[in-house]
């Protein structure tokens, strides 16, 4: 249309390959077609996306659904709403050196785990321990900034690290390690913590005042997702266009990793990209409420709205690595 609506959109972190869909949508005019002028800013963390939106500084962003659950528990009228789930699988994982002597999760007892404070991985460890019948008190946690976890792990200061696999995997690569050969990964999803994770969220204000815009935003992102699932190189081109400082090789691998490990799943194939299953969402909410000792368990409808999703047929994502 003639009148473009400006949307302030925050990423979950600095420019990464896994954000390529947004850049692709912008570069190829998908947003424009929907009458949107989307301004993309880099973020401070996928949890901070929620704060940024709640404060009104941003209209939409790419962030963690679990942070929405936390905030919706106390401030249901302010918390943003997820409208397009991208990472169907949780990236939360524990990584350890194969030489560390940790072979099963039981071996975490008596070892020191490095965690970045407040990240879901660190915060959900007690739930993880409880669900898997570990003695939580025996697991020591050492706090550190996320970018110190891998160096400290390599150096041997910690025995394992509580990480996001999509971040840590490439951090290890960048630290000249072989994350597949020399490291062992324990994914939370495999141990009873079947959570959702990052997706597109919008502010309640935007939702209420301009639902058409939200629908347009979701449509554009969906279109881009499907496009770069077929052609990651095109996605990377858009990413470089946005930020010429990124390491293309690594970020492309990261993009592919996101499809491989986080987006494409049996569930996604069943319900299409962007949607969630309400019962799984309810379970996930239960886990978060337990892990964070929240006062109130929000309903799945407070967290996720599928109102704006394009029809199922348009959300058929086929990933082919290239």
């Amino acid at each position: 249309g003639a009148q473009e609506t400006t949307i302030k959109f925050t990423l979950g972190w600095k420019t990464q390959g896994s954000d390529a869909a947004f850049f692709y949508a912008k570069d190829h005019g998908f947003f424009k077609e929907e009458g949107l002028n989307v301004v993309i800013d880099q973020g401070e963390g996928s949890g901070a996306t929620v704060t940024r939106i709640m404060s009104g500084a941003y209209d939409a962003g790419f962030g963690d659904v679990n942070a929405i659950i936390q905030n919706a528990s106390t401030k249901p009228q302010d918390a943003p709403v997820m409208v397009y789930m991208i990472w169907n699988q949780p990236p939360f994982a524990i990584v350890t050196k194969k030489t560390s002597g940790i072979n099963t999760i039981k071996d975490f007892e008596g070892h020191t785990l490095g965690g970045a404070q407040g990240t879901p991985t660190t915060r959900l460890l007690p739930v993880f321990a409880q669900k898997n019948k570990l003695e939580g008190e025996k697991i020591k946690i050492s706090n550190m900034a996320p970018n110190l976890q891998e160096p400290m792990l390599i150096k041997g200061d910690i025995d394992a690290a509580l990480v996001f696999n999509i971040t840590s995997y490439f951090n290890l690569v960048l630290n000249r390690q072989d994350p597949d050969k020399d490291y062992k990964w324990f994914s939370f999803g495999d141990y009873g913590l079947d959570l959702y994770s990052n997706g597109v969220m919008v502010s309640r204000k935007l939702l209420a005042s301009n639902p058409k815009v939200v629908a347009g935003l979701v449509r554009a992102v969906n279109k881009a997702m499907i496009a770069i699932a077929k052609d990651q190189n095109a996605g990377m081109k858009a990413a470089v266009n946005y930020d010429n400082l990124i390491n293309i090789e690594v970020e492309k691998r990261r993009l592919q990793f996101s499809f491989d490990k986080l987006i494409v799943s049996p569930e996604m194939k069943e319900i299409g990209v962007g949607d969630v299953k309400d019962d799984r969402m309810a379970r996930a909410i239960g886990i978060i409420v337990e892990g964070y000792q929240l006062a109130r368990a929000p309903a799945p409808s407070e967290i996720f709205s599928r109102e704006f999703l394009p029809p199922r047929a348009e959300r058929e994502l086929v990933y082919t690595a290239n």
Binding site: G47, M54, A67, Q70, Q117, S142, N143, A145, L148, K155
Partner: protein, 258 residues
């Protein structure tokens, strides 16, 4: 004029109160979300409730800060004296120090952590490295601008350079040394907390980091208030010492009070 002094103090305290009241009103009037800027009353309540939990963290931060600060002051005085006395040191060390100070310490903390492990040592080092520069600058400037007439008094007696430094240079620099302490102590807190947020299991920085990831903004602000309070407490202590040592330099106010 003791009653004037007293009224002065009351007046100042009232103005400080006013600041908090204004803040409170500002938040109430603009309907500011407490995720952005909590009201001081909320912060004080949180502080009061969480105080038993905060206490060991406060002690930890205070201890690391003080160690770093004391070491930083020592280093600052020595470096400042060297730079103030020697032209070569001035030309060499100043650019290096300015360069070093222009580097955000947050970039240096990880190096400290990797070398010395997480916890107290990097916090002390960060506090030290962030707080010594203002001291260097003021000591060096004080020494460089000491009136040669004052030094001549000792030079004519055949005093050594060290004698002159000790008896003229440093005493004359005291007012500005204390000025720089005010900057240094507050930056020492910043440094220690910074390091704690990067890698530590204890300390205010750690608390604030946890609180902020829990979206518990009032607790974050409680941490900030604790830091501010500690800074002010130390400032008050130094002020008392300063009053005794550098009274000669502020005799102006004496004369007016007569």
């Amino acid at each position: 004029m003791p009653d004037l002094d007293y009224r002065q103090k009351v007046w100042s305290a009232a103005l400080i109160m006013l600041f908090f009241v204004a803040w409170e009103l500002f938040c109430l009037v603009t309907g500011m979300s407490d995720l952005v800027l909590p009201r001081p009353s909320q912060v004080f309540v949180t502080l009061f409730e969480k105080f038993p939990i905060l206490w060991p963290h406060i002690l930890q931060t205070l201890a690391t800060t003080m160690i770093g600060f004391v070491l930083g002051v020592g280093l600052g005085v020595v470096l400042g004296a060297v730079i103030g006395v020697s032209k070569t040191a001035y030309d060499t060390a100043y650019p290096l120090l300015v360069g070093f100070s222009s580097i955000p310490k947050v970039a240096v903390v990880p190096i400290f952590v990797l070398w010395f492990g997480s916890g107290t040592v990097p916090a002390v080092l960060t506090a030290l490295s962030i707080c010594f520069f203002p001291i260097v600058v003021n000591i060096a400037t004080g020494l460089a601008t000491t009136e040669p007439e004052l030094e001549d008094v000792l030079k004519a007696l055949g005093a050594s350079k060290f004698d002159i430094l000790w008896n003229v240079g440093l005493p004359r620099t005291m007012p500005f040394f204390f000025a720089s302490l005010k900057v240094a102590i507050s930056y020492a807190f910043v440094g220690a907390v910074l390091s704690e947020t990067v890698a530590s299991n204890r300390g205010i920085g750690n608390v604030m980091m946890t609180a902020s990831s829990n979206f518990n903004v009032p607790l974050v602000f409680a941490g900030l208030f604790v830091l501010a309070g500690l800074g002010v407490a130390l400032y008050v202590i130094f002020s008392v010492i300063e009053g005794r040592i550098t009274g000669w330099a502020t005799r102006k106010s004496d004369v007016i009070a007569t």
